[in-house]
C-alpha cells in the first residue's frame, strides 16, 4: 500500500500527542498506586517507580532515532494503538505476576522491587518514550523543519489535562480500569480520526479492526477489576479507591481485616494491640477526661472508655476509612466519640483543645508524610495541646529478643527527639515498641497502675510481666545511643534510618544500584552537549524542587490531598506557557537559557529563605507560585536549547531524553539521598549548586 497524501496531518498528530499525554499521565499515576498496593510503600519504592518510568522513557526516546529511519503515520498509529492496549495489560500484569514470582502475602526487598517495577513497566514506558519523538519525526517527514517545541507543547497540554483529570475527577469516581478506559477513549478517537484517512477505502478494515480491538481491550479489562483484587484467603467484602490509597476489606470466617494499600491495618479480635496502645498511656493519667486518637479502631475506643473518659476525638485523614470501619463493625458510634476528618498534624495546629492523652496510631515513619509525626517540631506542637499531666503515646515496629543496630539507631533517634521536648520518655519494648512521653515521671508498671484504676484487661494482666519485664526496659535504656541525631521537620533522619532497616531486613544494600547509576550518568554526561546538559540539570532540578515543595508543604499545612494534587499540576502547567514564550523569543536563545539558569537559582534561594527564615509568609499559594515559575522556566528552556542545538531530528530527540534522564536522577537522588541524609536545607543548596554548575558550563562554552 502506498502512502496517500494526508490532509491536515499536523492537527491529526497534535490530537494524538495530546491524547497520548492524557492517557500516559493517568496510566503513570495508576501504576504508582498499583505498586504501592503491592509493594512496600516507603520513600525509596515511590522514587524507584518514578525513576524507572522516566529512565525507561528516556531510553525509549533515544530509540526513536535509530528506529525512525523510515517514518510513517501508520507506524505511529500502530505504536499509539499498542499503548492503548498495553495500558490495561500492564495493570493486570502488575497485579497477577506478583503471585507468580513472589510468595503471596510477603513483602519483597530492594532489588526484586527494582526488577519487578522495571520489568512490568518497561514495555509501556519504553513505548511512551518512543512515541513523542517519533511523532516529531513523522511530522518533519511531511512538514520539513516542523518545530520540536510545538510537539513539546502538545505533549505538555496532554500531561496537564491528564494530571488534572486524574487528581480532581477520576480518583473520586473511577476504579483503575475505569480510569484507564476513560482516559484512553480520547486517544482511541484521535487514532480513529487519523488512522482511517491514512488508508485507501478498500483497506479501511485495518484501522477499523485496530480501533475495535483497542476498544474491546479497554472495555473488556473492566471485567478484571475485582478478580485481580481477590485475596488468596477469605472473601473480598469491600473495595474502594480513595485519594489516600486502596481500601479492601477481607472477611475470613469470624474475622474482618481492613487493608490499606495492601497492608492489614485494622482487624477484629486484636485485644493485645488495642490494650497496649491505649493503656500504656492512659494508665499514667489518674483522671483522663479528654483523649485524642490519630487513627484508631473500635477496640481502642472500647479500651479508652474503660478509663471513664468524657470525650474522645478521633482524627482520621481518610473519611472512607471511617465509613468502612463503621460499616464492618470495627468502629461503633458512641456519644463520647467525635470523628474529625483531617490531617492529624493540621488538626493539632488548628485546635485550641487540650487533651489528657494524645495517642498516635500510625504506620512506620518511612515516608516524608508520616515522618512529620515523629519530629521535634511535632512533639513541641503536641506539648502545647496536652494538659499539664497529659501524655503522648506512639509506637513503631519493635523486636522480640534482640534489638539490631539499625533498630537501635531508629529507637535512639526517636527517643532523643522526644526528649528534646518531654523530660520523661518511657519505652515499652515488644513486637511494637511504645513511647510514652510526658512532662512528669512515668511508671512502667502498667498492670499495677491499671489495678489501681480497677481496669481489667485480657492481655496486659496475663502477659505484660512475661513479655516486658523491667530488665528489658532497663536493658533498652542502657543501649540507647548518646549520639543519635534529632529528627526534625527539615532533617528527616528517620526516613533514612528506616530505609537502612528495610535493607537490613532483606539483607540488601543499594550500593550496586548506586554504582550502576553513577556509571550510566558519568558515561551519559561524557557524551552530551552543553544544551543537553542544561536540560539534564533542569530536569533534575525540577523534579528535585517538586519533591522538596511537596515535602515542605506537608510540614507547613499537613497532607491535603487536593492541594498536593494542585502542586503536581502547577509543576506541569508552567511548562506550556514557558515553551510558548520561549518559542517566540528564540532569537535570544542563549541569553534566555542563561537567564533561565539564574532565575531557577534565584527561585530556589527565595524558596529556601521563605521556609527557613520567613515561614510566617509561606502561604499555600506561595508554594503554588514557586512551582509554577520553576516549571515555567523549565518549559522555556526546552525550545531555547533546541534552537541552540539545531532543530534537526537527532538534536530534538537527544534533548527530550536529556530532560527525562535528568528528571529520573533528580527524583531518586532528592528523595532517597539528599533529603533523608542532608536535610531540606542542604538539598536546596545542592539543587542551587547544580544549576550554578550548569550555568558555568553554559558560560564557559559560549
Amino acid at each position: 500500500m502506498k502512502n496517500r497524501p494526508l490532509p491536515n496531518i499536523e492537527a491529526r498528530i497534535r490530537d494524538v500527542v495530546v491524547a497520548t499525554g492524557i492517557g500516559s499521565v493517568v496510566t503513570q499515576l495508576l501504576t504508582i498506586r498499583e505498586f504501592l498496593s503491592l509493594l512496600n510503600g516507603n520513600e525509596l519504592v515511590i522514587a524507584l517507580i518514578l525513576f524507572n518510568w522516566l529512565f525507561i522513557g528516556a531510553v525509549g526516546t533515544l530509540l526513536a532515532q535509530p528506529l525512525g529511519k523510515n517514518p510513517s503515520v501508520r507506524k505511529l498509529w500502530a505504536a499509539s494503538l499498542a499503548l492503548v492496549i498495553l495500558a490495561p495489560v500492564q495493570l493486570i500484569a502488575i497485579r497477577k505476576l506478583y503471585g507468580l514470582i513472589f510468595v503471596g502475602g510477603s513483602s519483597v526487598g530492594f532489588y526484586p522491587t527494582l526488577m519487578y517495577t522495571f520489568a512490568t513497566t518497561a514495555p509501556y514506558a519504553l513505548l511512551i518514550g518512543f512515541v513523542l519523538p517519533y511523532s516529531l519525526i513523522v511530522l518533519r517527514k511531511h512538514i520539513p523543519g516542523y518545530s520540536g517545541t510545538r510537539i513539546y507543547v502538545f505533549d505538555n497540554m496532554g500531561d496537564v489535562c491528564g494530571g488534572a483529570l486524574f487528581s480532581f475527577a477520576l480518583i473520586y469516581f473511577a476504579t483503575p480500569f475505569q480510569a484507564l478506559a476513560a482516559s484512553h477513549l480520547l486517544l482511541v478517537a484521535a487514532l480513529w480520526g487519523g488512522y482511517r484517512t491514512s488508508y485507501p477505502k478498500a483497506s479501511r478494515w485495518i484501522p477499523a479492526a485496530g480501533t475495535l480491538l483497542a476498544l474491546l481491550v479497554l472495555t473488556g479489562a473492566l471485567a478484571w477489576e475485582i478478580p485481580t483484587l481477590r485475596p488468596g484467603t477469605g472473601r473480598l467484602a469491600f473495595y474502594q479507591e480513595t485519594p489516600f490509597g486502596r481500601l479492601r476489606v477481607i472477611q475470613d470466617q469470624d474475622q474482618t481485616t481492613v487493608f490499606q494499600n495492601g497492608r492489614p491495618i485494622f482487624f477484629s479480635k486484636n485485644p493485645g494491640a488495642a490494650e497496649a496502645a491505649v493503656h500504656y498511656p492512659l494508665a499514667q493519667v489518674a483522671d483522663a477526661r479528654r483523649v485524642l486518637f490519630v487513627s484508631a479502631d473500635q477496640q481502642m475506643m472500647a479500651e479508652a472508655l474503660k478509663h471513664q473518659v468524657a470525650a474522645i476525638d478521633y482524627v482520621e485523614i481518610d473519611p472512607a476509612l471511617t465509613r468502612v470501619e463503621q460499616r464492618f463493625g470495627l468502629l461503633a458510634q458512641h456519644p463520647a466519640v467525635t470523628a474529625i476528618h483531617q490531617d492529624g498534624r493540621q488538626y493539632l495546629q488548628q485546635t485550641q483543645k487540650h487533651y489528657d492523652a494524645i495517642v498516635l496510631n500510625l504506620p512506620e515513619p518511612d515516608t516524608f508524610q508520616i515522618n512529620r509525626f515523629f519530629t521535634k517540631e511535632f512533639f513541641a506542637l503536641v506539648k502545647t495541646r496536652l494538659t499539664d499531666n497529659g501524655v503522648l503515646s506512639f509506637a513503631v515496629k519493635g523486636y522480640d529478643s534482640y534489638v539490631s543496630d539499625v533498630e537501635l539507631e531508629k529507637i535512639s533517634t526517636i527517643y532523643h527527639t522526644a526528649r528534646q521536648v518531654f523530660p520523661h520518655v518511657l519505652m515499652m519494648p515488644g513486637t511494637r515498641l511504645f513511647f510514652v512521653c510526658a512532662s512528669r515521671p512515668l511508671d512502667p508498671d502498667i498492670p499495677t497502675l491499671l489495678a489501681k484504676k480497677n481496669i481489667s484487661t485480657a492481655y496486659i494482666s496475663g502477659y505484660f510481666y512475661g513479655d516486658i519485664p523491667l530488665e528489658k526496659i532497663q536493658g533498652l535504656n542502657q543501649l540507647i545511643s548518646k549520639t543519635a541525631p534529632v529528627n526534625t521537620d527539615f532533617s528527616p533522619h528517620l526516613v533514612r534510618i528506616l530505609l537502612d532497616e528495610w535493607f537490613r531486613v532483606f539483607s540488601a544494600s543499594p550500593n550496586v544500584l548506586i554504582l550502576l547509576l553513577a556509571i550510566i550518568n558519568i558515561l551519559y554526561l561524557w557524551y552530551i552537549s552543553k544544551e543537553e546538559f542544561v536540560l539534564y540539570t533542569t530536569g533534575c532540578f525540577t523534579m528535585g524542587a517538586e519533591i522538596l515543595v511537596i515535602f515542605a508543604f506537608q510540614i507547613f499545612f499537613g497532607y491535603i490531598y487536593l492541594q498536593i494534587g494542585l502542586i503536581v499540576t502547577v509543576f506541569l502547567a508552567g511548562l506550556l506557557p514557558g515553551a510558548i514564550l520561549s518559542d517566540y523569543l528564540k532569537k535570544f536563545a542563549t541569553p534566555f537559557l542563561i537567564t533561565g539558569e539564574i532565575v531557577l537559582t534565584a527561585l530556589m534561594i527565595v524558596f529556601l529563605a521563605g521556609i527557613t527564615r520567613f515561614p510566617e509568609f509561606m502561604t499555600g499559594s506561595s508554594f503554588l507560585v514557586f512551582g509554577f515559575f520553576v516549571s515555567l522556566v523549565c518549559g522555556a528552556q526546552f525550545p531555547a536549547a533546541l534552537h541552540l542545538a539545531g532543530s534537526g531530528r537527532p538534536a530534538a530527540i537527544r534533548l527530550f531524553s536529556a530532560d527525562l534522564m535528568g528528571a529520573a536522577l533528580g527524583t531518586l537522588v532528592t528523595s532517597i539521598f539528599l533529603i533523608p541524609y542532608v536535610g531540606i536545607l542542604w538539598t536546596a543548596v545542592a539543587l542551587i549548586a547544580l544549576k550554578l554548575i550548569s550555568l558555568t558550563v553554559l558560560k564557559m562554552s559560549r
Partner: protein, 393 residues
Amino acid sequence: MKPVSRRQFIQKSALTLAGSLVPGALALAGTDHASPSAPAGITGRIFKNTAPNRPWKWSRPADHTVPYSDKTLMCGICPHNCLLNSGDRGICRSRVNIDGTLYTLAYGNACSVNIDPVEKKPLFHFKPATRALSIAAAGCNFRCLNCQNWQISQVMPEDVRFHTLFPEQVVAAAMEKKAVSIAYTYSEAITWFEYMMDTARQAKEKNIANLWISNGYINPAPLSELCEVLDGANVNLKTFDDAVYQKLNGGRLAPVLNTFKTLHKKNIHFEITTLVVPGYVDDAKMIQQMCKWIVDHLGPDHPLHFLRFFPQYKLDRLPPTPVSLLTQFRQIAMDCGIRYVYVGNVPGHEGNHTWCHGCGKLLVERNGYFLAQNNITDGCCKFCGTRIPGVWG
C-alpha cells in the same frame, strides 16, 4: 487461592478478545496470595568465601563433620548437609570451613539472654510457673518469612552484639537467677549445636533442666546425642505440606517428622507448635492428616499448640488467623485423639487452659503466663486421678 474456572476464563476472554489473551493467561496463574506457582522454595544458600581467616575466641571445631575431599567438608548437623570448601560458610551462617577444619562461630557468644516464664516457650506440661534462662546465639538453618527473631537468626555471629557466656557461665547465670531450666531458643540452637551441648551437659550435672525450642531440622546422629541431655522440647511442625515448608520456611517436612519420631522413641517430653498462617497452613484437611499422623506415630499425649499468626517480618501482607479457625483446628485435633490441644496468641480463649482428658475438668487455668489455678497433684488430675502427660515435679 482460588483459580479462575474455565467458564469464567472463557467469559472473560470472550470479553477481551485478542487483547486479553495475555491477561487471560496470567489469570490462570493465580491470585495475589498463596499462589501454587509462586517460587518453589526459599532455602538458603551457602555463603562462598565469607569465612574469617582464622577462628575467633567464640569458635571451636565443629562436631559431626564429614570429610569429603581434600579441604572440602560436609557439615552433618542438619539435613542441609552443607558441602563447604575452605573459606565457605554454611547456610546457617554460623559454621565455617577454615582451611579444611569446620568451626562453629557461635560458641559462648550469647546475643539474647532473658529469664522467661516456661509457658512462653510455649511449654504447658513442663514444670509450670517456673522460669527458664533463655539464651540464643546467632544463626538459623531456615529462612522463615515470618521470623520473629530475624535480627539474630538471619545474621552472621560476627554481626551481632553479644555477651561472652561460655557454658559454665551460662549455668552459673541460671543458678544465680534461680532458673529451673535453660532454654536454647529464639534463633535455631541446632546451628550452635556445640554451644548448646556443652552447656546442657554442665547444666545436667547441676540439676538444671535443658529445654530445646526448635524447628526440628536436625540429622539423626546429632539428635540422638542431644536427646541424652534433653529434658523437654517444643518443636515446630510448621505445616504438613512439604511444598509450604519449602516456600515459607526454606526446609523440608520429612526430616522434621523424623525428629518427632526420635524424640518420642527416646521418651523426651516434647510439645508441638503449629503456627496457622492464613492461605498456607489453614487447610482443615491438611490439619486433620497432620493430627492423624501425630496420633499414629507419636501417640495422643504430646501437647499440640495452634498459634494465631500476626503479620510480621516479610510476611506482613496477610491477615491474622481467624480465631474461629483456631477453635476449629483445636476441635479437629481433639477429634483425632490428641488429648491436649492449645490455642496460643489469643488471650482468654478456652484453649489457653488445660482440661483433664479423663474427666474433662479444668486442670490448669492460665491468665497469660500466670496460673490462676492448678489442679494437678503429683502429675495427676486432682479430681479423677488420671495421669497427665508431662514433667510436673
